[in-house]
């Protein structure tokens, strides 16, 4: 049945990496079983990953379209599906539907400064955005990344972050909540660090992703610094089933997170009634 939006594409699990020291976060690199398959996406979009018999769940794409040969997802083990995903072994097959939703407005960022603010495992699609911007580095002015976690062991993509730190075209600020021995970078909550190191709002677009409490305290900081709501973007999460705006559960007001989002500007969110 061509064009059946419920039929997943078969993917092979090429690489599995445990990301966090508590082993609740695991990264999967997937490739198409049918090598001719193509897949166009942009940073910020998401896919539905599934194991038939266990279920399906949405995940933001952590790889960048500029990286060829794999799609990357980082999965936090919380429920039935994510636990089943954690039990996958290299070489096994899983289903993928997507890409779904909108993306970070990289076209608007053209020639502008970009500030990425992130906390915890919400960094996935922001990694995608970062890598995408590095690949088109000439299109963007200053790039600043603020990324925090409770402790060093919970930061995603550590090896890659170490590479990022060496770049001279990026301001990277890593922070943890409480100081631990051997940590030589920032200590403090993301909102406070943002207040301290954020660039001038002039010609700057902010992208904020993280746990609700982080977003709640970071948005006022950005507004205080002079970022207009139209230039602050965030990505929302909701329980989803279909991913295509039909199953009716991920709406906030008349906007569906799966089709109208998951990326929304703060200005858009202010117009929506419900909490996010």
């Amino acid at each position: 049945m061509p064009g059946n939006c419920y039929v997943p594409i078969s993917m092979t699990v090429d690489k599995i990496r445990t990301e966090s020291d508590d082993r609740t976060l695991r990264t999967f690199d997937l490739s198409f079983r049918n090598k001719e398959q193509t897949f166009d996406y942009l940073p910020g979009q998401f896919c539905q990953l599934s194991i038939l018999g266990r279920g399906e769940a949405p995940f933001g794409i952590a790889s960048s379209p500029t990286e060829e040969g794999f799609l990357r997802f980082t999965v936090n083990r919380v429920g039935v599906v994510t636990t089943a995903l954690h039990y996958l072994a290299q070489g096994e097959t899983i289903g993928l539907r997507g890409p779904f939703g909108n993306h970070y407005p990289v076209e608007k960022f053209n020639g502008q400064n970009v500030l990425i603010v992130s906390g915890g495992f919400a960094f996935t699609t922001l990694r995608s955005l970062g890598v995408y911007m590095f690949a088109h580095r000439g299109d963007f002015a200053d790039i600043t990344v603020i990324y925090g976690a409770r402790r060093p062991g919970l930061l995603l993509y550590c090896d890659e972050l170490a590479e990022w730190e060496k770049r001279d075209d990026l301001h990277l600020h890593l922070t943890i909540d409480k100081d631990v021995a051997g940590w030589d970078k920032k200590v403090g909550f993301v909102p406070a660090v943002t207040e301290e190191v954020a660039p001038s709002p002039r010609n700057t677009w902010a992208v904020v992703c993280g746990p609700p409490v982080m977003i709640k305290y970071t948005l006022p900081v950005l507004l205080r610094l002079g970022f207009p709501p139209e230039r602050i973007y965030t990505s929302l999460e909701r329980r989803m089933k279909c991913g295509i705006g039909k199953c009716g559960r991920c709406n906030i007001g008349s906007k569906y997170v799966c089709t109208d989002g998951p990326v929304f500007s703060y200005a858009e969110l202010q117009r929506l009634p419900e909490q996010f």
């Binding site: 049945m1 064009g3 059946n4 939006c5 419920y6 039929v7 997943p8 078969s10 599934s50 194991i51 038939l52 018999g53 266990r54 279920g55 399906e56 769940a57 919380v78 429920g79 039935v80 599906v81 994510t82 097959t93 289903g95 609700p212 999460e237 909701r238 329980r239 089933k241 279909c242 295509i244 705006g245 039909k246 199953c247 009716g248 559960r249 991920c250 709406n251 007001g253 008349s254 089709t259 009634p273 419900e274 909490q275 996010f276």
Partner: protein
């Protein structure tokens, strides 16, 4: 549209037989004392004389439980729909209109739903005008009526000894070409007009709902939500009987002791706590109040934003079956009055 035909009731079987010859036929049947829409095996099983069943006709095209895919770990096969298209007879104008609304959800947009589209877009919808609207019917509030023909391919009117058949679409006209029928006489048409007139005037006081959408735009923090939630049981009777409620869940099942799995789609209801509860335990709609608000807003506000009309056809099923008689008409009127 085209000329109205007259079918003597004695010849109804012929009409049904013609439907059988081309379609899988669904219609109202008596299933162990319960009237419901089901696939009909013979003309005799059809009950065109009964009131609109308590369950809507949406399940014909959007079954409560539907297997999307089957397979084992390696191989996934989508369920194949039988080639033979569906015809529905005896569906009321409200349900036919409800199907049109569902088609907006499932059949339009970037991703169309293949299961729905294949069934609905190839179907022949034969509606039966409502000569005696029931208590609780309020289709007239919503720009429709007991003899409305939206979403109908052939509209039937029972005039006593005969049934008038009016083609309402190319598909309907095409089908009627094969039915040897005389044209309805002027007297027949007058009779039908009378029945229609009587049915329309029998419906209880109509309320103008044109300001409802904007009233609800301002109603997010209304204290009315608390008041209404007080008695609502948060069951899904209203949603599951509703011809336009379409929210669903997708679940996987695995046969015990084998690798045989299936992915099913089942109706879901925004009134259930689990509907939006995330794996982390966080629930953006934590209490009955947020869930009731979602249901009312989805139908009478959000759906208008997205699809340009209210997702209600006024069939009155939720009113008749609500265990605590939480009457949606009263809810609407109160929001309209609250402005």
């Amino acid at each position: 549209m085209s000329k109205v035909l007259r079918l003597d009731k004695k010849r109804l079987d012929e009409f049904v037989a013609a439907l059988f010859s081309r379609y899988r036929l669904f219609g109202p049947v008596d299933s162990g004392g319960l009237m419901r829409f089901a696939e009909v095996e013979s003309a005799g099983a059809l009950r065109l004389d009964i009131a609109n069943p308590d369950e809507s006709a949406k399940g014909i095209f959007f079954p409560q439980t539907e297997t999307l895919l089957t397979g084992n770990q390696g191989e996934v096969v989508p369920t194949q729909e039988p080639d033979r298209p569906i015809a529905v007879i005896g569906i009321r104008p409200c349900d036919a209109r409800g199907l049109l609304m569902l088609d907006k959800v499932f059949g339009t947009g970037e991703h169309n739903d293949p299961y729905w589209t294949r069934r609905y877009r190839n179907a022949l919808i034969v509606t039966m005008g409502c000569s005696t609207p029931r208590a609780g019917c309020f289709c007239n509030w919503l720009g429709s009526g007991p003899f409305s023909t939206e979403g109908s391919d052939i509209a039937l009117t029972d005039i006593g000894d005969a049934i008038l058949l009016e083609p309402r679409s190319e598909k309907g006209m095409d089908f009627l070409k094969g039915i040897p029928c005389e044209e309805a006489s002027a007297a027949d048409l007058r009779k039908a007009a009378d029945i229609k007139e009587r049915a329309e005037s029998s419906m209880a006081g109509k309320v103008d709902v044109s300001s409802l959408k904007s009233a609800l735009d301002r109603a997010w923090d209304s204290p009315l939500w608390d008041e209404l939630t007080g008695k609502c049981l948060s069951c899904a009777a209203c949603a599951y009987l509703c011809p336009t409620c379409h929210c669903f869940d997708i679940q996987d099942e695995k046969a015990s002791g084998t690798n045989q799995c299936r992915r099913i789609r089942i109706w879901d209801s925004c009134m259930a706590p689990l509907f939006t509860k995330e794996a982390s335990g966080h629930n953006p709609r934590p209490t009955g109040k947020e869930r009731l608000r979602q249901r009312v807003m989805h139908k009478f506000n959000y759906f208008v934003d997205v699809y340009g009309e209210m997702a209600c056809v006024g069939c009155g099923r939720c009113i008749r079956s609500c265990p605590v008689n939480l009457d949606i008409r009263e809810v609407l009127v109160r929001f309209i009055n609250a402005g």
